[in-house]
């Protein structure tokens, strides 16, 4: 096995499900001959043909709506939205239809679709290409929201997302597409969609994050260890429905929590985790629950984006802060 980039792991998972299940259909802009702007679908047109790897016109609302129609007919559409900044026109279809087709019809029709989209900043992209907007979907009942941070997790979670019976929004951390590398075994084994991943065990602080900031959190974990602080690092990976059990157990042990994400802090999904802690793990808390997140400002253009993105020093400052309570 060779090291695989995250984007290759995505492609492996797509190829895998497409070869095992003919009902899997890919939709998206430039996913065919061009192989996707990040090459996530590279070679799939050649392998699976243009019926199943379909370049769509530029019409994001209809892409989501097509997926609803396909899914209701027993197909398994996987749509790519080129950048998450263009996912907003899908929200109507996701909220008013995909997430509730099962409920509305008491299970008569179901909606097993996946919308994949790169998300987040740090690649010096043009305007509107660097946003993180998972929180616009995590209040929608009936949707699953997944956000992996490593090639293996991307592979396993994407397999499960596509094979599963529910609609899933699957965010891929853009700046890890090529930088995150891992041996990925094309075993066809999915990862369950109901468990967080504990990437590092520790006893002093629970560090909770997802997506690209997992990298900074890992670095902070190492750095903290050098300072004698033992960090337990949880990659949430599946935001909705949330496996809070793993987080609660960890915070009960450590008594301290720092939550990290790239989206703006106010109304971000970190708030949900902090709120659950403040309810269900309050009695074990030794320190305030800290969030290290994007600021409540529009994602700056590339010249300033590095100052917006939560980085290791900011995470360390929060860790030191919560450690100052004993």
């Amino acid at each position: 096995m060779a090291d695989r980039m995250l984007v290759e792991a995505v492609r492996m998972a797509l190829a895998r499900v497409m070869s095992e299940d003919e009902t899997v259909i890919l939709l998206g802009e430039d996913i065919g001959r061009n192989g996707g702007v990040f090459r996530a679908t590279n070679g799939l047109l050649e392998r699976f043909g243009e019926q199943r790897v379909r370049d769509t016109p530029i019409a994001e609302a209809a892409i989501a709506g097509l997926a609803v129609g396909l899914a209701a007919q027993g197909m398994r559409p996987v749509a790519e939205i080129q950048f998450s900044g263009f996912i907003y026109p899908c929200i109507d279809q996701l909220t008013n239809h995909a997430s509730r087709l099962r409920t509305r019809t008491r299970g008569r029709l179901t909606c097993p679709l996946v919308i994949r989209s790169p998300s987040g900043g740090g690649i010096h992209a043009p305007e509107h290409h660097s946003e993180s907007m998972e929180a616009l979907l995590t209040n929608v009942p009936g949707l699953r929201v997944v956000f992996p941070s490593s090639p293996k997790r991307a592979y396993g979670l994407l397999l499960s997302a596509i094979r599963g019976p529910d609609p899933v929004v699957f965010f891929e951390p853009t700046r890890l597409y090529r930088s995150a590398k891992e041996d990925v075994d094309d075993s066809g084994e999915g990862l369950p969609l109901n468990c967080c991943f504990t990437l590092r065990e520790g006893t002093d602080v629970t560090l909770v994050t997802w997506g690209a900031t997992v990298i900074e959190a890992l670095a902070a974990g190492d750095h903290a260890a050098d300072e004698g602080v033992s960090v337990e690092l949880i990659d949430v990976a599946i935001l909705k429905p949330l496996d809070f059990e793993t987080i609660r157990a960890s915070v009960s042990k450590t008594g301290r929590a720092v939550i990290v994400h790239e989206a703006p802090i106010s109304g971000g999904f970190g708030a949900e985790i902090a709120a659950r802690i403040a309810d269900e793990a309050l009695l074990s808390l030794l320190a305030p629950v800290k969030r290290v997140a994007g600021y409540d400002v529009v994602m700056p253009l590339p010249r300033l984006e590095q100052f917006y993105l939560p980085d290791e020093p900011r995470i360390m400052a929060a860790i030191r802060d919560v450690m100052s309570y004993t």
Binding site: R54, L66, G69, Q73, R106, P241
Partner: protein, 348 residues
């Protein structure tokens, strides 16, 4: 018979019940009587639903008074294996397809089981957000095409729906992918209080097909034969890989938008009165009477039959207990996540 966005809507039977041209072969006595029965049933169902709403036994309801020929014409042109994607004013089409009046009452009474109809299991539930089901029709049609099936998806929506991006994105994609989809516009001249002339400057709604490079037809939506004929031809084309069609059916909403609407706020009684003579049920009755020996007692029997059917359905509906509160959790996902299980337990 399909005229590319022609501006005079095609019809077979004039408002006075006289045939204006030779009827298509499908329009034999049995077929016409079945259309007539379905339109009458729809009308009587609508009356009952409005009455139930007025007495607090049903929620807000959208009557299709005056538009029965569109619903029945399109549904009767469909085959069982086709898929209907209805808007909120297509009880006529849904009843024809096999949805029961009890199920329709349940839906409008605020019970999700109304969309779990025993009838056409692959049909879509009623779509409330205007035009948002148009892309679903394209998706359904794509599934059919990919599987090589000879089936079509038929979506119905109002004149107002043609202003929405979803409508356009859906017809455009259907066109470029040659999908077996039929988009039926029930142009009842009004979108709540806005007349069609203030929705668009387009000459007709049928011409909007040109933007997508697809075929269109424009028919008198109060002539069930014309609607059936146009939708039937569109389905034939769809299933023989000739691509999608936009069918504009020109009709008129004789009633309020819904039971919470008061249309006298925005349109004159006179306008409504002027449109009554064109309404579809009397039109077909006159034709049947003149040409197919439809008698007064046939009529009375049919009315009684429809009243019975609808009345019984209303009684059965009234006897159905609501779902258990806990049932609201069951269908959120295919299986209940732990968090939701905890929430469900709180509810007790």
């Amino acid at each position: 018979m399909i005229s590319q966005g022609a501006s005079t809507p095609l019809r077979f039977i004039a408002p006075d019940g006289q045939a204006e041209r030779e009827l298509p072969v499908f329009a034999d006595r049995a077929a016409l009587i079945s259309f007539y029965r379905a339109m009458l049933l729809t009308r009587i169902f609508d009356e009952k639903a409005v009455a139930l709403q007025r007495t607090g036994r049903l929620g807000t309801f959208a009557s299709s008074l005056g538009q029965e020929a569109v619903s029945v014409g399109l549904a009767s042109a469909m085959r069982k294996e086709d898929v209907l994607l209805p808007s909120f004013r297509e009880q006529g089409a849904m009843l024809w397809r096999g949805v029961s009046p009890v199920e329709l009452f349940l839906y409008w009474g605020g019970d999700e089981r109304g969309s779990d109809f025993a009838g056409p299991r692959g049909d879509f539930p009623i779509c409330i957000p205007v035009a948002s089901h148009a892309p679903h029709a394209a998706g359904v049609a794509l599934a059919m095409k990919l599987r090589g099936e000879k089936r079509a998806a038929v979506a119905v929506m109002g004149d107002g729906a043609t202003s929405k991006g979803d409508f356009y994105e859906a017809i455009n994609i259907s066109g470029v992918w040659r999908l077996p989809a039929v988009f039926v516009i029930s142009n009842n001249q009004w979108a709540i209080s806005v007349p069609v002339g203030r929705q668009t400057a387009a000459a007709t709604l049928a011409v909007k097909a040109m933007a997508a490079g697809i075929r269109s037809a424009r028919v008198d939506g109060n002539d069930v034969i014309a609607v059936h004929n146009a939708v039937g031809e569109a389905i034939d084309r769809a299933i023989s890989d000739q691509g999608p069609t936009l069918v504009e059916c020109v009709t008129y909403r004789l009633g309020d938008h819904t039971t919470v609407d008061d249309s006298s706020r925005y349109r004159s009684d006179q306008e409504v009165s002027e449109n009554w003579p064109s309404e579809p049920v009397a039109r077909l009755r006159q034709y049947l009477t003149a040409h197919e020996g439809w008698t007064k007692s046939d009529e009375e029997n049919l009315i009684a039959e429809c009243h019975n059917l609808v009345g019984e359905a209303a009684d059965r509906y009234a006897a159905i207990d609501p779902l258990e509160p806990k049932d609201m959790f069951e269908m959120t996902f295919a299986s209940l996540p732990r968090d939701l299980e905890e929430q469900r337990n709180q509810l007790s």
